[in-house]
């Protein structure tokens, strides 16, 4: 029997993405953000999340997608990977679905400009195509440091 995966679905542009539910701590509405100087452009700043200061990145910016205006639907998905806790700004977060591991295919080289290493795979659920993120790579710190050095 194939493994079942619970996934939180969110949207960036026209694509639907998913992250494992275990890695998501909460989903928040946009809140006032404090800019942190001298950080890459996709680092939007830090927020106060119940007394904890959390960095927030714009996932569009992180993937090199064109940035969009924040709307009422914009959400911050707070994820935790290892000792990293980061908020990710997404266009909207819709629902939680079950994905069977046999529905997941390996990612093609390029999906909407996102490099394959950020992806775990593509899940086909009926008509829907769900891009599963590899959060470890998306939040890879050494890459951030490289980006910082490039910009400074």
């Amino acid at each position: 029997m194939a493994e079942e995966l619970k996934v939180i679905v969110f949207a960036l542009g026209h694509e639907e993405y998913g992250v494992e539910v275990e890695k998501v701590k909460t989903i928040e509405r946009m809140s006032p953000m404090t800019r942190v100087p001298k950080t890459p452009a996709f680092v939007k700043g830090v927020i106060n999340n119940r007394g904890v200061v959390l960095p927030v990145i714009d996932l569009r910016g992180r993937f090199g997608l064109p940035e969009a205006e924040y709307t009422d639907n914009t959400r911050i998905i707070i994820v935790a990977v290892g000792d990293l806790e980061v908020g990710m700004i997404v266009d909207s977060a819709s629902d939680v679905i079950d994905v069977n591991s046999d529905q997941i295919e390996l990612p093609p080289e390029i999906v909407g400009g996102i490099r394959a290493k950020y992806l775990r795979g593509i899940a086909k659920i009926g008509e829907r195509l769900l891009v599963l993120l590899n959060l470890e790579e998306v939040l890879n710190k050494s890459e951030i440091i490289q980006l910082e050095q490039m910009e400074v």
Binding site: P37, R50, E85, V86
Partner: protein, 690 residues
């Protein structure tokens, strides 16, 4: 049974007991005949044994059990504490400590303890140099439960009990009990046997000890000396009726037998006494061992501290952090309520909100205080450290602790131990001279190291002061030049104090121990780095031939700092007051440009001026004002002016980390949450002053 949930509790308590035993051992070294201390230690060992056994840490349980046996002999006046016994017991405590550490690190606490167990057992058997079993004249213990000297022998006390019993017309028997070879539950059978004994009379002595028998630590049988008014046959019958127990061998003991035993006992003691007389040195050495032991730690109640009930509870530090975080949420709501109240102009609401404001600020203070811990928890390791150090170095050192009740934030406490160990070792190792040197220098034989802690302002000071040989300025300077820390030219213009501070310079002693000079400086740069990372600083004062004083200055807490809130554009930042000199207002016309760098005159010197809006790329900052608000900051001796748009005011802020995702952000040392719930970054002026 699911034991993991108790593991934390076990670890905490085990550590407490170990610490208590360590302390008590040190006290006992001072007064080896104080049985009340032994009682306390015995209880600690006993509790620890029980806890370990319950948790399944067999080796811990074994070791504590053997320790308990030795202590039991001591408290029943059957054994005198001597230096070798102290050494073995200290070794034992170290082994226990290592095992507990292993458990803390997620291990199983397993360790090879056979050697120590063997030494302890040897001690319990009386097989220790110059440890004569002393007559126990008064001990009230009927001492059925002690593993005495040789098998089958009664000690003096038991002999007199036996003699009195015979004189009173009671029967005295030696009973050998053997269990059937098929017996499965030996301890249970033994228990039944002892029940019979209890019914019929009194056990004078049991071999092995009752405790061991209860734990099935015997082979096939055991022997008891028994006093009873019942006839021998009745006893035989009662014992014989227990199943799986062989018919007992009951031998009546007469007054003549006892006399013989007593003679044997006296002979044994004479031998021991003779041995002690022939070798008086061990006794001498014991006294010497007592001398270098640490002095009484201030305020520690002598002896019976183990029984005192602490009206405290243990709280996980994470829970306190959560409480703090939740509390700051509450403060945000308070600010909202306050603005609502002023909008609605309802007096009842305003009054309620004001009341709530007062209550919540009191609450905040309490929450912060909860994190404060007396430095005692760190200091209490040191008497033992100094004792061991004195022993290894063959020196006499007294450690005098004052101010152990001074409180520090938990986060600081956890970090400060290692640097202090380093400094204390330094004082003991390089500061205090050997006794003969001290006498030659006209000082008392015993050196003194003072360890003091006290509050002053927003800081805690910890001083380590010795009356040793001090720092040899010239030699330190030569070494520093040799190692390229300073140049010979620089050295000429340096004051003594500056040269002493070179001990803390990185690279001053990267090589192995420098023993040809006063030797100070071994790894002291590590100490400095650590203390500075805690927001503190360390200084040294020394006078050649008279001693050295290290002073460590630490912030009261790492989580709250006093800061100046400033505004740049629409953004608010906090600058720690500790790096601020003052704020001032200067006309733009005073800025001079030299070599492309902007400078201003400040109190007679020329210092650089920096526009924060430029450094931090603040969008929409107004840079046209003619009068500029500046904050003068300091790094060491160097000053710098930071231009800000507005000074909001001074405030105590709670320090928060930016999280590991943004671990190294330029010129930002952390963040804090303001009253309105927004996050403000804390600037690190040191990074701006390059």
């Amino acid at each position: 049974m699911e034991l993991n949930q108790y593991l934390g509790m076990f670890i905490d308590e085990a550590r407490e007991h170990l610490q208590a035993m360590n302390d008590n051992m040190l006290q006992l070294e001072q007064s080896p005949d104080d049985i009340s201390i032994v009682q306390v230690m015995f209880r600690s060992a006993h509790t620890l044994k029980g806890m370990s056994a319950t948790m399944g840490f067999e080796e811990l349980a074994t070791l504590t059990h053997e320790m308990e046996n030795v202590l039991d002999l001591v408290r029943n006046h059957k054994l005198r504490m001597t230096e070798p016994i102290f050494d073995v017991l200290f070794q034992c405590l170290d082994a226990l400590e290592t095992m507990v550490q292993d458990i803390i690190a997620g291990g199983t606490g397993k360790a090879d303890v056979t050697a120590i167990v063997a030494s302890l057992q040897a001690i319990a058997k009386g097989d220790v140099p110059a440890s004569a079993a002393i007559p126990s004249a008064q001990s009230a213990a009927a001492s059925a439960g002690s593993a005495g000297s040789a098998a089958g022998m009664l000690d003096q006390f038991q002999l007199s009990v036996a003699e009195q019993s015979l004189q009173a017309g009671l029967g005295l028997y030696r009973i050998d009990i053997s269990l059937a070879p098929t017996c499965v539950l030996k301890a249970a059978r033994a228990f039944m046997v002892f029940q019979v004994f209890e019914k019929f009379g009194e056990v004078v002595k049991s071999q092995p000890a009752v405790q061991d028998i209860e734990q099935e630590k015997f082979d096939k049988g055991f022997t008891v000396y028994f006093v009873t008014e019942h006839p021998k046959e009745e006893l035989e019958k009662a014992l014989g009726s227990i199943s799986e127990v062989e018919p007992p061998v009951v031998t009546a003991i007469t007054a003549a037998d006892l006399k013989q035993m007593r003679e044997g006992e006296i002979a044994k003691q004479e031998t021991a006494a003779a041995a002690a007389a022939a070798a008086p040195r061990p006794a001498e050495r014991r006294e010497r061992a007592a001398a270098p032991a640490a002095g009484p730690s201030a305020g520690a109640p002598a002896g019976a501290s183990g029984g005192a009930v602490n009206r405290t509870i243990r709280v996980d530090i994470e829970k306190l952090d959560t409480l703090m975080n939740l509390f700051s949420e509450l403060l945000i709501d308070r600010v909202r309520l306050e603005s609502l109240a002023s909008e609605l102009r309802s007096q009842a609401l305003t009054e309620t909100v004001e009341h709530m404001a007062r209550v919540s600020s009191d609450l905040q203070n309490i929450v912060l205080k909860l994190r404060m811990v007396p430095v005692e928890s760190v200091f209490n390791r040191f008497p033992r450290l100094i004792r061991d150090l004195a022993k290894t170095l063959d020196k006499k050192i007294e450690l005098v602790i004052t101010g152990a009740d001074t409180e520090l934030d938990r986060t600081v406490i956890d970090e400060i131990g290692d640097p202090l160990v380093h400094l204390l070792r330094n004082s003991g190792d390089h500061g205090i001279e050997r006794p003969d040197e001290r006498v030659a220098a006209g000082k008392p034989e015993q050196g003194t190291v003072h360890l003091r802690a006290y509050h002053s302002g927003n800081h805690v000071f910890i001083e380590i002061e010795d009356d040793g040989r001090g720092i040899h300025t010239e030699k330190v300077m030569q070494t520093a030049i040799k190692r390229g820390v300073i140049t010979a030219d620089q050295a000429k213009s340096m004051k003594d104090e500056e040269i002493h501070m070179l001990l803390f310079a990185p690279g001053f002693s990267t090589a192995d121990k420098i023993t040809d000079i006063s030797g100070r400086g071994v790894g002291l740069d590590v100490v400095k780095t650590k203390i500075e990372s805690l927001g503190g600083k360390v200084t040294v004062e020394s006078r050649w031939g008279q001693g050295t004083k290290f002073t460590v200055q630490l912030p009261l807490t790492l989580s709250i700092i006093a800061a100046m809130l400033i505004r740049v554009g629409d953004e608010k930042y906090a600058i720690p007051l500790s790096s601020m000199v003052e704020t001032s207002l200067i006309p733009r016309s005073e800025i001079r440009v030299v070599h492309g760098e902007r400078l201003i005159q400040y109190r007679g010197s020329v210092i650089p001026i920096l526009f924060l809006s430029e450094v931090l790329d603040v969008p929409g900052a107004d840079t046209s004002a003619e009068e500029l608000f500046v904050v003068i900051v300091r790094k060491g001796e160097r000053l710098m002016a930071l231009v800000v748009d507005d000074l909001i005011g001074q405030q105590e802020i709670v320090l928060k980390s930016l999280g590991s995702y943004l671990s190294k952000v330029f010129a930002v040392s952390g963040a804090t949450i303001l009253g309105d719930g927004h996050v403000a970054l804390i600037l690190d002026p040191n990074a701006l002053l390059k």
